[in-house]
């Protein structure tokens, strides 16, 4: 069968006319012939299941509550949280995965929400800083952040809490180095790092972490 006049019905829908010249199109029609020697090229691939050019349904669990939303593919998880769902506890700073202000837990794993698409978390459980407390009761780590004065302007704090919470959930005692490694992707303009580490160590090891810093301070004072 070699029916050159056959209209390739699906081609227009797939937007091919926009980029292909007339000559290429004729050649394309020839290749539509099912008897063509090149089966893969003979037909443009189906794109019917493409989603997200317009808002598409998305379901996931956010801080323990099921969420249903209509979201475009281009929307990042961070944009969905802050702009569509008004959950502004998660911060936007660099929007390039370099600062950690936007970190959330996705199925327990700390990830930069600015470098994920909202549709990546379909069916997942997302925990933001707002989901760390039990109702009005702050988590032990949040209390420790207050106790240890682990924040100044607070922009990095959500991300610091998320990274540190993931580390603490692994269980067991921690060293300063382990905490520093876990928050290596969280930038703090105010330089609160030592107090953040103290707070995390206090939760992981009891107050030993704090004493360690006090010793450090005594040493520095004497130098």
């Amino acid at each position: 069968m070699s029916d050159h006049s056959k209209q390739p019905g699906g081609v227009t829908r797939r937007g091919l006319f926009r980029t292909l010249g007339a000559a290429t199109l004729v050649a394309g029609c020839v290749k539509q012939d099912p008897g063509s020697e090149n089966p893969e090229r003979s037909e443009a691939p189906e794109l019917d299941d493409a989603l997200g050019l317009t808002p598409a349904p998305l379901e996931f669990v956010l801080d323990g509550q099921p969420v249903q939303a209509e979201v475009e593919a281009r929307t990042t998880l961070l944009e969905l949280l802050r702009l569509d769902l008004d959950r502004t506890g998660t911060k936007v700073v660099c929007d390039r995965g370099a600062c950690g202000a936007c970190m959330v837990l996705v199925d327990g794993v700390p990830r930069n929400s600015c470098m994920m698409l909202a549709h990546d978390v379909g069916g997942s459980e997302v925990t933001t800083v707002a989901g760390l407390a039990e109702g009005e009761q702050l988590s032990a780590l949040q209390l420790a952040f207050i106790e240890h004065d682990a924040l100044q302007c607070g922009f990095c704090t959500s991300g610091m809490l998320i990274s540190s919470t993931a580390l603490l959930r692994e269980g067991g005692p921690l060293t300063r180095g382990q905490v520093e490694d876990a928050i290596a992707g969280n930038l703090c303009r105010c330089g609160t790092y030592p107090h953040v580490v103290d707070a995390v160590l206090a939760v992981a090891n009891g107050e030993g972490g704090r004493r360690q810093t006090e010793l450090l301070q005594v040493k520095k004072g004497g130098a």
């Binding site: 090149n38 893969e40 794109l47 493409a50 470098m115 876990a182 992707g185």
Partner: protein, 356 residues
Amino acid sequence: MQPFALIRTKRLERARAIVRDKPEARALRAGGIDLLDRMKEGLDEPELLVELRDAMAPQVELGAGQPLLPAENPERFPSAPRFAQIGALTPLAQLAAAELPGAEALTEAASQAATPGIRNTATVGGNLLQRPRCWYFRQRELVCLKKGGDTCLALMGDNRYHAILGAGPSFIVHPSSLATPLLALDAVVSVFAGTPSDPPEGGATTEPNSLRLLSELFVSPADDPTREHALEPGDVLTSVWVPVLDGMRSAYQAVREKQSHDWPLAEAAVRMRIAADGSMRDLRIALGHVAPIPWNASAAAALLEGKAPNADLFAQAADAALADAAPLDGNAYKVPMTKGLLREVLHRASGLALPE
């Protein structure tokens, strides 16, 4: 970002066919870290992303299989009693946590790349195939050699982070931190590249799952300054294979301006065996972030092959590795720095204590 659509497929054939149908407007997406970065910057504006995450599984397996050698010239691929197979979709964090005795250079590099959060998303394949981080390339407004311009802007501009080896006409450094240890470990990669009946336009026929030396994956700017890897649109890097030799040892180290989350200024990775007579065998040395491709310092490795570990010898090897260095006006510091780095990594890999 500009509007785009997503397609998820379990079939690599379909993912490849979709991209090949309109390569200028479609892209494959793995972890998407570099891809989203480029899209946010306006460097790339695909209208359709084809997701690979349902088509391949993240995995690191030691000794479970061997790469399928091609019928022609199989001897040009490394042989080993065991291979570690790393799925291209494996997140860096999973690779960093894997037990790969002898291949510590790789797990160390994976544990130091980017940040903990990014390592949970970024994949092994994406790390190898990411575009360069050169600040001229990454600026949308600047038309550099990589973007169809006629000159590399690093030549006239601030080139403190650019190449000192094997460069020109483009002076980028290759951005992959996994490529450095993988090159030292003599890795090979599986690429899904269609069927034999489906040669790329004007290209050679390829096997569905063609095996390539890792070094063949990368393109020198002298051959084509607009690309860094040899994959055609729609081709999918599926696995990385690391030969695990008996008694193999390896080490990796990078120098950064900051302790955390920073691109390396230089990297060195070394693989070797120590034979019964105490001599170093099967030595391979790779340098990273000093050249537009992951740099194989084969002359330095040849100088050490069969010799016993020795501090003076290591210093000579480091000199040999950088003998052809041609720094620009802002990056001459990289020459002595890389020499020192390589000496340290040679000491660490061989177990010879560092001199005072």
